[in-house]
Structure formats: C-alpha cells, structure tokens
C-alpha cells in the first residue's frame, strides 16, 4: 500500500518537474510557432473528422432514445430537443468527447515522444543545448488547449445536426418540436461550462501523455506500455476532474 502511494507521489513529483521544464520561455519563438501550428493541425484539425462522425451519430441516437423512452402524452413535445441539447452540451461534447480524444490524441503524443526517446532523438536535442521538454511538449499542450474548445463546439453542432437528421430523414419527431426544444430555456453559461471543462481536459490529455512518453526507457514494448498508461491515466483524471468541475461550475 505504502509502496503504491510512494510510486504515485514519485510520479507526481516527476510530472511537476517536467512541467516546470516545459513551461519555460521558448528558446526560439519562430521554432515554437512553427511547432505550434504543426501540432494544431496534427492534434486538432486531424481529429475533426472523428469528432463530427461520432457526435453526429450520438446526437441522432440520443434524440431517438429520448423520444422512445421518455416522451409520453404527459410530457411536453419539446422535451426531446431540450434533453438532447443538454446532454450534448453539458456532458457528451465536453467530457465523453475528451475521453475519446484521450485515446486518439493521447496515444499519438505518448508514442511519438516515446519513440523519440528510445531512438535518442531527445538526447540529440539535449546535447545540442535545446530544452527538449519545452521544445516538444509546450507546443502540444498549447495547440490542444487552443483546439479543444473548437472541437467541442463542432461536436455539439454535429450532435444537433444528427438530431435534425432523425427529424427530417427518420421522421421520429417534427423539426419544429426539435427546434423549440433546442431553444427552450437555453443558458449560455452552459456553453461556457463546456468550453472551460474542455480546456482542463485538453491540458490533462496533452501533459499526461507527454509525461508518459518522455519517461520511456527501453524499446518498442515500453513505448506501447507508455501509450496505454497515458490513455488510462488521462481518462481517469478526466473523469475525476469532470466530477469536480461540474460541481464547481454549476453551483
């Protein structure tokens, strides 16, 4: 038990040291900006497709499920649109989508940095006098933190389009009822809650994955393990922080 606590405390200490090295002033701003734009494309733009696809279908499925299971003659007809909007905005697009992205983006980051470590590319940077942590990790964190609110917004929009698809193509409910429900009692603060949560989750995904990748020692098996650990641990941290953030932001 004590060993486990010491192990996690040790990992936390190493994580803090790495973040200390990461958040230092970039040696060359032009190189940082070049990396930042590249990472925005690789981590953010390249994830748009999967975000839109998943969100579209989940939006459609939520709409059908709500219509079939909740709506009754005793319930107002707008409840399907209202519930779909609240689920997409408050939980799915911000939290569940980030869990999905922890798998895609987190494993990508951990395996990329881990491979650089085992092939001595990070040693090469250190010997050149480059702060390898700052050069490699800072653009990833800033790029994902920048892109995540956009992905969350796209996800919510795609979910709502999915819900409209069930109305127009599946004729599950009328488009007017859906539109009324989507507009009903809308609080813009919920959108900002979603954005704020996504910023925290983006930081967790990118920093935890970078930490596991940067700590790799050995070969390809260790890179694989680091990638798995990055996804598992960032997912756990997202779930815990979701609980606290939801409590904090909806007070």
């Amino acid at each position: 038990m004590f060993n486990l606590i010491f192990k996690y405390l040790g990992a936390l200490g190493r994580y803090c040291i790495l973040m200390g090295r990461t958040f230092s002033r970039p040696e060359r701003m032009r190189m940082f900006l070049k990396q930042y734009v590249k990472e925005m494309s690789q981590l953010g733009v390249d994830s748009i497709g999967i975000v839109l696809l998943i969100s579209f279908f989940i939006g459609a499925v939520i709409c059908i499920q709500i219509k079939l299971n909740i709506q009754s003659p005793w319930m107002p007809r707008f409840v399907t649109g209202y519930t779909t909007r609240e689920i997409m905005l408050l939980e799915f697009s911000s939290s569940i989508m980030c869990l999905i992205l922890a798998g895609k983006v987190g494993s990508n980051i951990a395996s990329e940095i881990g491979t650089m470590r085992v092939t001595q590319q990070i040693d090469a940077l250190d010997i050149m006098g480059v702060n390898s942590a700052s050069y490699l990790i800072l653009p990833k964190i800033t790029a994902l933190v920048t892109m995540m609110p956009c992905l969350v917004t796209f996800s919510t929009a795609a979910g709502i389009i999915g819900a409209y698809a069930t109305a127009y193509l599946g004729h599950v409910l009328t488009a007017d009822d859906l539109t009324y429900g989507l507009h009903y009692s809308f609080q813009s603060w919920f959108f900002w809650c979603s954005v704020i949560k996504s910023l925290f989750f983006a930081f967790i995904i990118s920093s935890v994955a970078s930490f596991y990748g940067y700590q790799v020692e050995g070969g390809s098996i260790e890179v694989g393990k680091a990638s798995t650990n990055a996804v598992v641990n960032s997912s756990i941290l997202i779930l815990f922080s979701d609980l606290f953030l939801t409590q904090l932001l909806t007070k």
Partner: protein, 259 residues
Amino acid sequence: MIELKNLHKSFEDKEVLKGISTVFESGKTNLIIGQSGSGKTVLIKNIVGLFEPTTGQILYDGRNYVAMNKKEKTMLRREMGMIFQNAALFDSMSVLENVMFPLDMFSNDTLRERTKRAQFCLDRVNLIEAQNKYPGEISGGMQKRVAIARAIALNPKYLFCDEPNSGLDPKTSLVIDELIHDITAEYNMTTIINTHDMNSVMGIGEHIIYIFEGHKEWEGTKDEIISSNNERLNSFIFASDLFRKVKEVELKEEQENKK
C-alpha cells in the same frame, strides 16, 4: 582539448567508471575502445553531460563542466556536436531540415544564409542530392552522413561519436571514418569516438584509450597498439582472426629481421 581528471561514476552500489584520467587533444581523432559493458558509453555520456559524474572533473579547454551552472552548461553544449549510434535524425524533418535544425535554433542568420550553410554541410558529406528526402527514405550510411552534417552545422569545437560504424558494411564504415577524420583536422575539433571496430582503430586512431571494467587499462596510438604487451588489450584486439594473423605476420617479420 578535453581533460578528464579522476572520473568516477556509480549507479547505486555499482561503480561503472573507476577513476579515469586522460587528455583528448584537439585536431586529433581520440578513440575510446573496450568490450561491451566495459563502461565506454557511460564514459561518453558523462563527458557530454547526459550523466552526472559521481566525482571527478571534466575540463573543456580548462572549463570544468561538472562545476558549471545550468545556463553555462547549455551554452557549452552549443559548442558540441554528437553523432549517435543510430544517427538519431528527426523523423518528421527532411534531410535539409535536420541539418538546418541547430542553425534554426541558435543562429541569427537569415533563412537564405541558414539554408546555404546547411547545403554546404550536406555537400561536405556528399549528400546534397538527398536534401529533400526523409530519414526513412535513405540508407543507414547516408543517415550517419546526415548526422555528421548536422553535427558540424554550427562549427562545433567538440565532436562526439557513439559507435558511428555500428550496423554499417566495412566499405561504408571506411567512408564514415575518413569523413570524421578529415572534418576533425579541417575544423581543428576535439573528436572523441566510442567504438569497438578495430578497422576504425587502425584507420584513424591517433589517440586511443582502452577501457577495461571501468578503468583506463591502456593508452596510446594506432602504431603502438599492435606491439603492446598488455594482455587484456591483446585479448581484446586479437579476438578478431584478421588481427591475429596480422600479429603473426609481424612477429615473423621481426624474427627474420633479427636473423
């Protein structure tokens, strides 16, 4: 010039380097040889600063690396170039971008000047035609040459090579050795090569130190190594059948001369 004074390195209870002292002169190719596990890689990693020595001094032209603060170490590292065993080129960058990388990071030159310098370095290693290719698209020997070009891009004072011939055929190894030797003389660099390739030792070994179980067992030149009486060194260098035969021929010639 790099001077090591009584360098020790331990990992927990295990002492890997046991009081190594030597001088690596500039303009010469200095070779560290020894069996696998003898401590050569640990020694070179201590010299370049990837490991911190337990005790001892590493003097770069009189400047003690061990006593330097973080900023001084970073500045000194900009005077170093290193060629890794597996070249360690950046996969996501083209050959030209790899060579330009240290210039992009530390030089205040314009893009045109940086590109010109990188192309000059690539031309020096006869790889200008491969400048737009990626590391994955070129052979191991070409990757090593790109690593040499990247290492010399900033005109370093110190060049370190960790087993530069590993995984290369004898002919390509010869090309790499000659290139490192010529560049060392051309730029008057202090070059330290970590190797167990006896062809390199005999080809470019101007100053050789033999490491045995963490201590300096022997020191000399390529001309002295064949005639050395050190048993441990002999069992290392004459483990190769070719060198055993060379030794036998040499002994025969000596005996005939005596007659």
